[in-house]
């Protein structure tokens, strides 16, 4: 298992090295050539099809409550255009976590923690392309993550097709209470997406993403179980995952839409997951918009995951997030526009609720000895304004 993992990581390292050599001028040259390639080949006569994202302000209160973990907090976002080609955005997000989850309760004691995240973004429009640069920082007492990202989105074929490429690099410092920061982790994400207009009412899109991780990839607090005894978990220090998602969205009636998507995920830890989601949204009157969705996710465990390992292996983990389980969720949200001038500005208030049921096939609740399952609620209340 270790040998194949290293080989896969090696193959990927070559791509990584090529991509990281694209710094500065050379990277810009390749990006421009890629854009020209995609745009010039179709020579669409439409001009200025890609538009700068609208000026926007958002303020949200969010809550997750499930399985003994509660995470809540505020978040704000502002985006303002400087001229008709450049927009800047900034956001601030807080998670106040009080954790009395099954892992915590059975192996440690409940804790409270606060995580703050800042993100900055820059959007730049050049003819049919939109370029976005992002910088982010997320900080909690025992984990600091810094990310930077670049995305480019280009309209081709008369604006019928949008191709987007994106890259994000994350650099983390991993710590543990009482010890401080003791290790690091690095992440590389590569995204490619194509959105295609099918008819005046239907859109389809395909998105793929490769994520590659390196470093300390587990939790210093979590324990695994080997022969019934608790041992600190041992995760591989590399991971490469791939995901493909297909989505279709269409205007079915006068004022309503339907969407359906499917994602397949697989990685070098041998996790496989299928996720299916479908939803319906509808306008009511002038001011109301309702959304609803149903999502089903099914995952097959990582190769080194075990609820109670019966052999000594190089890697072992009892992280139920890596096990075999299914989760089903149902969600609905409602939005009310309380002020608007169509095409000029609008202000809305939104409320969204999602109910999730997790059902683990190979994770037992050691307090009861039976397979673990629990319900979670996700709540979002927020205001948005476009201006």
């Amino acid at each position: 298992m270790v040998a194949t993992d290293v080989k896969r990581a090696g193959r990927f390292a070559r791509v990584r090295r090529w991509l990281s050599s694209l710094r500065g001028g050379r990277g810009a040259l390749v990006a421009v050539r890629a854009a020209q390639l995609l745009g010039g080949a179709m020579a669409a006569t439409s001009a200025g099809a890609v538009a700068l994202p609208e000026d926007r302000a958002e303020a949200m209160a969010h809550l997750y409550d499930g399985g003994g973990t509660k995470a809540s907090g505020p978040a704000v976002l502002v985006r303002k255009s400087v001229n008709d080609q450049l927009a800047l955005s900034a956001s601030y997000y807080v998670d106040m976590v009080s954790n009395a989850s099954i892992d915590v309760v059975t192996t440690a004691s409940p804790y409270h923690e606060k995580r703050e995240a800042y993100d900055l973004g820059l959007d730049y429009v050049v003819r049919d392309s939109l370029m976005t640069l992002t910088l982010g920082n997320s900080k909690e007492p025992d984990y600091i993550a810094d990310t930077w990202g670049a995305d480019i989105s280009h309209d081709v074929f008369g604006g019928m097709t949008t191709v987007s490429l994106g890259f994000t690099h994350g650099s983390d410092r991993v710590g543990k209470k009482d010890i401080g920061f003791f290790d690091t982790a690095h992440h590389w994400q590569y995204r490619l997406g194509v959105t295609q207009i099918l008819t005046p009412r239907w859109l389809a899109s395909v998105n793929t993403e490769v994520v590659s991780d390196d470093g300390f990839l587990g939790s210093p607090y979590r324990v695994a179980r080997v022969f019934g005894a608790a041992v600190p978990e041992r995760n591989p220090r590399t991971r490469t995952s791939r995901a493909v998602k297909f989505r279709v969205i269409g205007d079915v009636g006068d004022r309503d839409i339907v969407h359906a998507d499917y994602r397949y995920f697989w990685d070098t830890w041998e996790i496989r997951s299928h996720t299916v989601e479908t939803g319906y949204s509808r306008y009511f009157g002038n001011a109301w918009l309702a959304d609803s969705f149903v999502r089903f996710n099914s995952q097959h465990k990582a190769s080194f995951y075990s609820d109670n390992a019966t052999s000594e292996t190089t890697y072992v983990s009892r992280n139920r997030q890596l096990g075999t389980y299914t989760d089903v969720s149902v969600g609905a949200s409602l939005s009310y526009t309380f002020a608007q001038v169509p095409g000029v500005y609008d202000a809305k208030v939104h409320a969204g609720y999602e109910f999730v049921h997790y059902n683990y096939k190979d994770f037992t609740d050691i307090r009861t000895g039976s397979l673990y399952s629990y319900n979670a609620s996700v709540l979002q209340l927020y205001l948005t304004a476009n201006f």
């Binding site: 390639l37 008369g158 019928m160 991993v174 207009i197 005046p200 587990g218 205007d251 995952q299 927020y382």
Partner: protein
């Protein structure tokens, strides 16, 4: 000069796309009113989409391809 494989692939892609040039965009810009409606966007509200994606990434082993950009937090 030896043809660099990346350049050859790029040239082939251009030629292939070029072969499609006779196909005209079949949905004209003035027919895209429904598609321009915000209801057709998969992510209307950035903060809500990011939060939903964050909850899923923390609770599930799978990640990516959702169209939400952004780095991780490594929440453990």
């Amino acid at each position: 000069m030896h043809a660099n494989p990346m350049r050859a692939a790029a040239a082939l892609l251009a030629l292939a796309l070029c072969g499609c040039a006779p196909i005209e965009p079949w949905v004209k810009p003035y027919e895209r009113e429904r598609l321009a409606d915000p209801i057709m966007q998969s992510q209307r509200d950035a903060l809500a989409a990011r939060h939903q994606e964050h909850v899923r990434v923390v609770r599930e082993g799978a990640r990516g391809a959702t169209g939400v950009q952004g780095g991780g937090c490594g929440c453990n």
